[in-house]
Amino acid sequence: MNIFVAFISSAIPLGVPLLYGSTGEIVTEKSGHLNLGIPGIMYVGAISGVIGAFLYEMSCGNAKENMVPALAILIPLLCAIAGSVLMGLIYSFLTVTLRANQNVTGLALTTFGIGIGNFFGGSLVKLVDSDMPNIILTKTSNFFCAQLPFADDCGWFGQIFLSHDFLTYASIVIALVVSFVLNRTRVGLNLRAVGENPATADAAGINVTRYKYLATCIGSAIAGLGGLQYVMAYANGVWSNNAFGDRGWMAIALVIFALWKPTMAILGSFLFGALCNVYNYIHHFFYLGHDANRELFNLLPYVVTILVLIITSMRKKREHQPPQSLGLSYFREER
């Protein structure tokens, strides 16, 4: 029982960056833009938060008692949002204003974002003259990871549901708010109209460009928070270049699994978090013989991702389809 609770409890933080990434991508895709730059945007969100936290810790003389908790959280949070929104603006300018190919732009942005992240990450490591190739921001991380005081008193329930950092709960709240806005508000209806048929929305008096820019930037900001959560909560404030892995790509695949529904993304993210965690726990549940056999379970999330893509691509139900104009640039003057 304890192992099972520990498995679930540790799977949740693994799913949170995926949830941020997929929610952000859903917002962007609803405007008709396929943003394959999400992995890079999440990476930039993470490094921007790290830079903010690093500078704040430095300004406080690296002493936790000098740090104001609200600032220790707000500064990295705002830096992460600013960095990822900047990436979103670059993507929007290229694909909305200049109508560059969305796939190529997204891939370029991912490469660019990872390059930028590694550049700043490497620079910070050299700045502190560390022997290890990483930056340790445990003081800031402690503020991010503050738990509810009564979580430990609630047994397995507390361990599974109440023992997480605030960005974990925020990811669920954000996904629910996005779902509400998309499905129940006029703004959401307009955004869906832009993604389904920008020409009709344009003719009806919707500012298509504004909606596309806003959706991409808001989506990027949400995705960027996933990068921040990974560093500050999951990795306990330790930044290492390239440690973020392929979570961004899994977040994009999750959008298809979630059928462009943020509420489904909540379920999907935690399911994928659990799949990523199987590797760490499988030997507790089954005898695997040689330890090398365990390595096979590292493949599990990727195999399931491919299966999900195959199965979801075969679905033909109308409500399970992507926005009709997804991936297509809108040329108003085409006549």
Binding site: R186, R192, A193, E196, N197, T200, A204, N207, Q321, R332
Partner: protein, 221 residues
């Protein structure tokens, strides 16, 4: 009195390879209660003119006056929302919205109450000769002719006086084409709309009150 006046409208745009002088000194006055057919070969400037009249862009020279006011002085978003309704060849309905939701969408933009909008759906479906039972279907479940009727109902829900149609019968068979144009003509004659239809089809044009021919960006008398 004219509802829409074109005064020496000139417009050009660049493609990747060339500069296209789409409209040259086009002048005309459109009156309410009439069905106009705008005909001409591909590239003659018909659709460009329609998009300017729809408020999707402004003329580079000359003016377009709606009820005496130049579109250059009007808020184009407001103009597109409340003054000019457009019907397209490919219907351009939202596939994930029901027929009723497609029809009420322009009303949502104008912040008409949901109750009033729902009531209007029934009236508009009746107006375009579709059964009320169709309200909860999705566009993909309808025939081309039915989808175009829904597109007309959506245009009517905007409560404008100006209906612009870009090849509205281009994707329909001859029987459905005739029905749609008859519907548009009834809207002009019975309800006082000014209906301007861009078409290649001379049989359709023959049903119009006025036929305007475009050639090389100019309107021919």
């Amino acid at each position: 009195m004219a509802i829409l006046e074109l005064e020496q409208v000139t417009y050009s745009y660049r493609t990747r390879y060339q500069q296209v002088d789409a409209l040259k000194d086009v002048s005309y006055a459109f009156e309410p209660g009439k069905l106009y057919a705008l005909v001409g070969k591909s590239g003659s400037g018909k659709s460009t003119l329609l998009s300017l009249m729809a408020g999707l862009d402004l003329p580079q020279q000359g003016r377009i006056l709606y009820e005496g006011k130049s579109t250059k002085e009007l808020n184009l978003t407001h103009y597109r929302r409340e003054k000019a309704a457009v019907i397209y060849q490919s219907f351009r309905l939202f596939p994930l919205l029901t027929v009723a939701e497609n029809i009420t969408y322009p009303m949502e933009l104008r912040k008409v109450s949901a109750k009033t909008a729902r009531k209007r759906v029934g009236e508009l479906l009746e107006k375009v000769n579709l059964p009320a039972s169709m309200a909860n279907r999705f566009p993909g479940m309808l025939s081309g002719g039915e989808q175009q009727r829904v597109a007309v109902a959506r245009a009517l829900s905007m409560e404008t006086k100006l209906l612009l149609a870009d090849e509205p019968t281009g994707n329909l068979d001859s029987e459905n084409s005739l029905h749609i144009v008859s519907l548009l003509r009834d809207l002009a004659h019975q309800d006082g709309y000014c209906v301007i239809v861009v078409t290649h089809d001379m049989e359709i044009a023959a049903l119009a009150d006025e036929v305007l021919t475009m050639r090389d960006g100019r309107l021919q008398e």
